[in-house]
């Protein structure tokens, strides 16, 4: 019966290991997340997850399929139903109102039941469960029908409408507006919420199905520890106890049963080893630094006086800024008047005005070059990963061909599949190492990181090369062994790199050249329209 506890504590043991010095923060109560601030350590769960020593970047998570999600809700509802002695439909409405925080619901309800009921859209009245009725003399206030024997329905509030109107109202809400958890009585100013049983009485099966689907969605969106798998057509949900404040210390990559790997802390796909905040900064920077900006920086200089951007359109180095009329030398950026007659040589390197201007220029140039260095490598791996993915689609065919030509069995050609998988995963990691490195300050740790990066990159490139060999050569058993070795080497290098990076991150040992915070909330915003 302690399903709820199970949810929350999956990560707790991990957390303890990762953040020995974070105990104060744990109590500081992050507002956005206080719903899950459960008592942390839960020893029982460790048996399930803590069997083997995990790498520093591994986080604990669980994948649920749609039926598990249903069961979780049912269990919670049943529990509240028994403890508070209210019927299941009402328990469900209360739980939704409290965003499935059972403890808080029970506590609040014990304290002030009538307020809680009213706020959640429930009635205190102990009137019999609503059912369809035909009442003599009834006129529906919505459609104004008054024929004899008209079937009508009212919630406990007694606002009675004909069944047809009720149905149409519900269809409008469920189908057109995608609303389920908070459909109110159709009457003006009545906040009573329609419960699942009443709904079942009123609408057809297909609408009920959609209603329950929407409720499931609300359930997942309401719980910060749950997130839908973002893969198209995947119905699974991943649970992870990572909290917002953890995101500076850990990169919470999770993997769905459908093999989709994504970040639990932000809306992106797997971006290990770079932390969410840096990923966000990086993506923003890449979006801002468009091609235009690159061209401008590469082909223009700024006027040393007014900073207007200037493109050199003639051969002469004597520049006159069109805007502020400042005259300067294109080569040394110094004052033209200081050039005297020797302008075409521009040998005035000692001039103070020129040095200063050049310094500023050089700084911006170096910073651009630095960015481009990392960006080009990042983009290259991104593209290669895409190409490797295309290659993977061809691999299937290759493997069939190989079986035919070499007489190898299905299992014997699986090494190509593993190689392809390894290539894609490692490229993705490499890609993000460049974004990560862009924000790293220079020190010993960074050098170790770069060594690890280099090792992985070299291994990946050589595997990539082997992988692209024609089928005839692939059949060679020597090459097969080489590919298998290289595959496992790549995977090993990746683990080493990630492990090292994650450990330093957890211990707060990286020095970044930007401010590193936690602005990205776990994107579980209620009412997000991503899964309509």
């Amino acid at each position: 019966m302690d399903t709820d506890d199970d949810f929350m504590s999956n990560v707790s043991s991990e957390e303890e290991d990762m953040m020995p010095d974070d105990s104060d923060n744990d109590l500081s109560g992050d507002d956005d997340f206080d719903f899950d601030d459960e008592p942390d350590p839960d020893i029982d769960m460790q048996q399930d997850f803590g069997q083997k020593k995990k790498a520093a970047y591994d986080i604990t998570f669980k994948v649920y399929q749609p039926q598990d999600i249903q069961k979780q809700q049912d269990d919670l509802i049943k529990e509240v139903n028994m403890i508070l002695d209210i019927n299941k439909e009402e328990a469900a409405i209360l739980l939704r109102h409290f965003r499935w925080n059972k403890e808080r619901l029970i506590e609040d309800y014990m304290e002030k039941p009538s307020q809680v009921l009213e706020a959640a859209g429930l009635s205190e009245s102990s009137a019999e469960a609503p059912r369809l009725k035909s009442i003599p003399g009834f006129v529906c206030d919505i459609c104004c029908e008054d024929e004899e024997g008209l079937q009508s329905f009212a919630l406990k509030c007694g606002h009675r409408y004909c069944v047809d109107c009720y149905r149409q109202y519900l269809a409008q809400k469920i189908v057109e507006e995608g609303e389920a958890a908070r459909i109110q009585c159709p009457s003006d100013d009545c906040n009573l919420i329609i419960d699942a049983r009443s709904l079942d009485l009123l609408v057809t099966q297909d609408l009920t199905d959609r209603y329950h689907k929407l409720l499931n969605r609300t359930y997942v969106e309401d719980r910060d520890s749950l997130k839908w798998c973002p893969a198209p057509d995947c119905q699974n949900v991943v649970e992870c106890g990572i909290k917002k404040k953890d995101l500076t210390r850990i990169v919470p990559t999770v993997a769905c049963l459908c093999s989709m790997r994504f970040c639990f802390g932000c809306p992106n796909e797997d971006h290990q080893p770079a932390p969410c905040d840096l990923v966000k900064k990086w993506l923003k920077k890449c979006a801002d630094d468009s091609e235009t900006a690159n061209w401008i920086s590469a082909n223009t200089k700024e006027c040393p006086k007014c900073n207007s951007t200037i493109e050199k359109n003639g051969g002469c180095n004597h520049m006159t800024c069109r805007k502020c009329k400042h005259e300067f030398c294109w080569m040394c950026m110094g004052l033209w008047s200081e050039h005297g007659t020797s302008w075409y040589n521009c040998n005035r390197f000692e001039e103070k005005s020129g040095t200063e201007a050049r310094d500023a220029q050089a700084k911006s140039r170096v910073s651009l070059e630095r960015y481009l260095h990392y960006y080009n490598r990042y983009a290259n791996h991104e593209q290669s990963a895409r190409l490797d993915k295309e290659m993977y689609l061809k691999t299937e065919k290759k493997m069939v061909q190989l079986q035919k030509e070499s007489g190898m069995s299905w299992i014997e050609v699986q090494y190509l599949n593993s190689a392809s998988q390894a290539l894609q995963t490692c490229r993705r990691t490499l890609m993000w190492t460049y974004a990560f490195a862009f924000y790293l300050a220079r020190n010993n740790l960074t050098e170790i990181f770069e060594d690890n990066q280099k090792d992985l990159e070299m291994a990946v490139e050589s595997l990539s090369e082997m992988f692209e060999k024609p089928v005839q050569e692939l059949a060679d058993s020597k090459l097969k062994v080489d590919i298998m070795d290289k595959t496992s080497y790549c995977n090993k290098r990746r683990v080493i790199l990630l492990d090292d990076t994650a450990q330093n991150l957890a211990e707060g040992r990286w020095t970044f050249n930007v401010e590193f915070t936690n602005p990205t909330p776990i994107s579980n915003t209620k009412g997000s329209s991503s899964r309509r």
Partner: protein, 183 residues
């Protein structure tokens, strides 16, 4: 069709017992889904003395879909767009707040009430809302000038037609398609 019956009844209630300060008519007697309402500027407000045309456009799924209500007359108001669309920001009209049991009469009352009590904290025209909050004198002067310029004499429904049709998203049973530009 349930909508027709309900609308007939609502219209009958409105004409037999006309709500104060409002004159309701159908531009086309065979089409219950479009109402023309002339709203008298409430006494004691800056809008007093003005006559404001309000177009009510009903969806075929009315009353399950909220009505679209727009001003046909230009009006200087924090909650009405300052253009010839005349869109109104009114919480009861928002799809998520709309309840099918709400009658048009009470919607119109709410619109009229907006003239008495603008809601600058929920503005559609931020500038006018600011002015209303911080420089009431200037606001009143402007609002009166608009009344004098636009809200005297007969309501020009034609001009508002295109705007209202656009606001209703074309998903209405509108019979007239006035292509004259709404300039």
């Amino acid at each position: 069709m349930s909508a027709s019956k309900r609308l007939t009844k609502e219209l009958a209630d409105c004409t037999t017992n006309s709500p104060p300060g409002m004159h309701i008519s159908l531009p086309d007697d065979s089409n219950l889904f479009k109402w023309h309402v002339i709203l008298d500027g409430p006494a004691g407000t800056v809008y007093a003395g003005g006559r404001f045309g309000v177009v009510v456009q009903l969806h075929e799924n009315y009353p399950f879909r909220s009505p679209t209500v727009t001003f046909a007359t230009r009006i200087y108001h924090p909650n009405v767009t300052n253009d010839n669309l005349g869109n109104i920001c009114l919480s009861v009209l928002k799809p998520e707040n709309w309840k099918p049991a709400v009658k048009l009469v009470s919607v119109l009352e709410a619109v009229r009430n907006l003239l008495v009590e603008p809601q600058p904290d929920d503005p559609l025209e931020a500038r006018i809302a600011d002015e209303y909050k911080n420089d009431r004198k200037e606001f009143e002067k402007n609002a009166r000038a608009y009344v004098a310029q636009y809200a005297k004499g007969a309501v020009n429904w034609e001009k508002a037609e295109a705007g209202a049709a656009a606001a209703a998203g074309g998903a209405t049973t509108s019979t007239t398609t006035n292509t004259t530009s709404a300039r």
